[in-house]
């Protein structure tokens, strides 16, 4: 059963606008959340993360919001650029785990058009 869900397989946004990618999770024991970006023929690269004790983390154009009560997080990209076109994976880690095992969503393909 999918513990991390990305219900939108694709998102198309015009350059300069905001991109909002959503992620839901079912396991309340997750305490750390990450977003990865993946270009074709490359491995995923780490983008931004947030601990469960926070509700927002910002890094340049990228902001992640966490709503623990709703078990929902979102990634905001402002402004969106064509180079942001990629597959974005949401991931979560169980509390107390040092094994580094992450649970991934199925990904959202973001397309930013000029």
């Amino acid at each position: 059963d999918q513990q991390v869900k990305q219900n939108s397989p694709s998102l198309s946004v015009q350059e300069g606008r905001i991109s909002i990618l959503n992620c839901d999770y079912t396991n309340s024991m997750f305490d750390y959340f990450l977003w990865y970006k993946k270009y074709p023929a490359e491995g995923p690269t780490f983008l931004i993360s947030i601990s469960s004790i926070k509700d927002k983390n910002e890094d340049g154009r990228f902001t992640v919001f966490l709503n623990k009560s709703a078990k929902h997080l979102s990634l905001h990209i402002v402004p969106s650029q064509p180079g942001d076109s990629a597959v974005y994976f949401c991931a979560a880690r169980p509390e107390g785990s040092t094994l580094g095992r992450l649970y991934f969503g199925r990904g959202t393909q973001l397309t930013v058009w000029p």
Binding site: Y32, L34, A41, G43, P44, S51, T98, G100, F104
Partner: protein, 116 residues
């Protein structure tokens, strides 16, 4: 900068062959992982290892085995390749140390395996 190197970018193998996928990391990470990525299915964990000679099954271990004889190297083995194992295989590593508790996974560039 962490580097995770997968020995092959593309592989074509025949059904029934034994296939070895090799992965090496250069950051002395304790944890290493093998995922496969398929369209619409995301990243699924096959096996992981948290120490030399240690291994744990992930979500889809059937048809695979792994070997970790040295800390920096983690091999994925397809005992008898089948067409449904055609996929992108991704190796990753992470640190388990306290100062790097929130260390993210670092991925290699992947091996695209085709089984015919």
């Amino acid at each position: 900068d962490v580097k995770v190197t997968q020995s092959s970018r593309y592989l074509v193998k025949r059904t029934g062959e034994k296939v070895f996928l090799e992965c090496v990391q250069d950051m002395d990470h304790e944890n290493m992982f093998w995922y496969r990525q398929d369209p619409g299915l995301g990243l699924r964990l096959i096996y992981f290892s948290y120490d030399v000679k240690m291994k744990e099954k992930g979500d889809i271990p059937e048809g695979y085995s792994v070997s970790r004889e040295k800390k920096e190297r983690f091999s994925l083995i397809l005992e008898s390749a089948s067409t449904n194992q055609t996929s992108m295989y991704l190796c990753a590593s992470s640190s388990a140390s306290g100062s790097s508790y929130n260390s993210p996974l670092h991925f290699g560039n992947g091996t695209r395996l085709t089984v015919t």
